[in-house]
Symmetry: C2
Subunit: 393 residues, 2 copies
């Protein structure tokens, strides 16, 4: 299959330091190439890939400090779609900017939405593009827009390159807790610090501070760095992150927002490190409560403190196994491949919607039934893993 992958230009593929979407694109592209697909990756010039790389920016725009990153994304999309005929399918990871371009060509596009969908402006822009094929990264991600007639073609959980996060059967001794991600009011590193202080364990923090979050960090985070046992490592690269996560007794994840997926959850579990999390967004789809982590449903620091005391009862090998089965590059690529194939099948034949809402593929002398749009391709690909019922159903 001739596949175009459009990565964000904010970070390199994979990111040099912090970065979620570009890391997922990296894992997907490597696995698609390994399976023999003809993949063209539109990404920053300093990206590493086994695919054909079309460089669309000198480097990751966040680290370069580019003033108008949107301009380069629009230029990239123009370039991708000018050569749309070269591809069987175009897979975009740059959100709604894709949509006006996708409409202008016959090559089908699927767009994975990697971000939160609960902002009113996101709702508004999606409602204007109900013709666009969308993929969510968790079922809960869709909840805020569940009432819109969007064209979902699947949910595909993010996957991690397992070899980048080696399994560690035992945590470090003396023990410590870990916090990894962004210093922001969504991720609440201040709550993680308070939990660590109460249980009397060191906390190692590997996280970036975005300009947008600087005020919050100055008021709520930086003043806490004098707390005994708290070590702030700044932004970490993959190697540092695997070391930080792998050695930890547990990852603290006291989020205060609807987490679209939570990539660090699967990175931590891949290392064998269980997760202690507040519920929210995809947390309960990704973490097996009581097996690969503890979800503190009361959303209190007290419950999180208690969870730290119980965390050693969990089996680190079960954490690794959970990721191997459901959140590997291979599992993710299985799901995306299935979606690409379904889209191409639909594309090849005229479609009519039958009375029960199923899409019927009608050709002369042959009426076949296809799975409905929004089918559970993403979930069935991770067979055997029971997630909670999708919130919007």
């Amino acid at each position: 299959m001739r596949i175009a992958q459009i990565a964000p230009l904010i970070e390199a593929v994979p990111p040099k330091l912090y970065g979620g979407t570009e890391r997922v694109v990296y894992a997907l592209v490597e696995e698609l190439v390994r399976r023999g697909h003809d993949v063209t990756l539109f990404a920053t010039a300093d990206s590493q890939t086994s695919a054909r790389l079309v460089p669309m920016a000198e480097g990751g725009l966040r680290l370069l400090g580019t003033k108008d990153p949107i301009a380069l994304h629009v230029a990239m999309l123009e370039e991708v779609y000018a050569q749309a005929d070269e591809f069987d399918i175009i897979h975009s990871h740059v959100d709604y900017l894709t949509f006006p371009f996708a409409r202008g060509v016959t090559t089908p596009t699927v767009t994975t939405l990697h971000g939160r969908l609960d902002l009113p402006e996101t709702r508004r822009v999606l409602s204007r593009f109900t013709d666009q094929r969308l993929i969510s990264i968790s079922w809960s991600q869709r909840a805020p827009v569940a009432d819109l007639p969007l064209r979902w073609v699947g949910t595909v959980y993010n996957g991690v390159c397992l070899e980048r996060f080696p399994f560690r059967p035992e945590p470090d001794n003396p023990p410590y807790l870990a916090f990894v991600g962004r210093i922001s009011p969504e991720k609440r590193p201040d709550w993680a610090i308070e939990v660590a202080r109460r249980v009397g364990l060191p906390l190692k923090i590997g996280a970036k501070i975005d300009p947008a979050d600087r005020d919050w960090a100055e008021e709520h985070f930086l003043p806490l760095l004098g707390t005994p046992g708290v070590e702030y490592l700044g932004e970490v690269d993959d190697r540092q992150k695997a070391e930080l996560l792998g050695g930890a007794l547990a990852l603290l994840f006291p989020i205060d927002w609807p987490e679209p997926f939570g990539l660090v959850l699967i990175e931590s579990m891949a290392c064998g490190t269980p997760v202690i999390a507040f519920p929210g967004g995809a947390v309960e789809e990704v973490v097996l409560d009581g097996v690969t982590g503890l979800v503190c449903r009361s959303r209190t620091l007290d419950e999180m403190v208690q969870a730290v005391h119980r965390i050693e009862q969990l089996d680190r090998a079960a954490c690794r196994r959970h990721v191997e089965q459901h959140f590997s590059s291979e599992a993710m690529t299985d799901a995306y491949e299935a979606i690409y194939q379904q889209v191409l099948l639909e594309q090849a034949t005229p479609l009519v919607v039958s009375a029960d809402g199923y899409l019927t593929s009608a050709t002369i002398g042959d009426v076949r039934r296809l799975p409905p749009v929004g089918s559970e391709i993403g979930r069935t690909a991770t067979s055997g893993f029971t997630t909670p019922a999708p919130l919007e159903r």
Copy 2:
């Protein structure tokens, strides 16, 4: 003529406080309606207009603090172009986001570029859309992209609503200097403060601080606010701005970037207040050096100090007259109307490019010659005003 005007959603039309593009759109729309055109304005819900308003956001997104303003602009463009058939022409003020939408319809679009064109990412995105009809707001604005084969259809200088900036024959007594705009390294309020300090005159500052400029402001501007005679009024509305500018002995404009136009220059001159400026960008197109202001070509604070001593020799009535003749809403609307008409004429007949680069309008049995694309419609509309030769020619 049925005209769609697409305003940015960052500020209301006109802006409640700071804001350039939306102020220009306001002036243009009011004058087009007065001339009998059927104008539809896509803008924020709290905009004031004589046109049919289609509300595209609750209010100005900067003051609302909207997290993802681009989403609402993309949603707006989708809505505009879904009804493209209702318009004879679409005039966009939201830059390159327009381009992919404009390609999908037969109604012609013209896009006024209101910002700087010297960033590498701007260059890159424009170079991918050489089919799009562009309008510059000064000749110098085009200089950084003069080598690109862009489809310029004119230059139209910004216009000001004269009644909002009443003429003041005499400055206040005791005298003071004014600085109006953004607190930023492009506008250099710190240099204005130093000039005022050296000449021993008070300086009144009406300016916003963008989040992106906060670091700079904290280091270079806020520490100077203790300077005797310096009064910082924060961000000002139109009434405050007219008062601040009209009472001043002169406007200080010690810019350190290629100013695309410099709206405050014409607002100041409209009040009768001459300008003391460093050269750069459009300054020498907008200010008549020695008549409506003094351009300090050495770019030194010493020359600016000397200019303050000489500024009373200039005739305040000449400043007003200069704006009435060349930078009124009416002059601007003359130029835009001429461009709309030319575009519709071209649209009505198939075009071929002749050997000398002129566009030839060829219909059966009739070959007429039209002015070349990039003709000087904007300039000839402000007849009698001699500007420097365009830099790119």
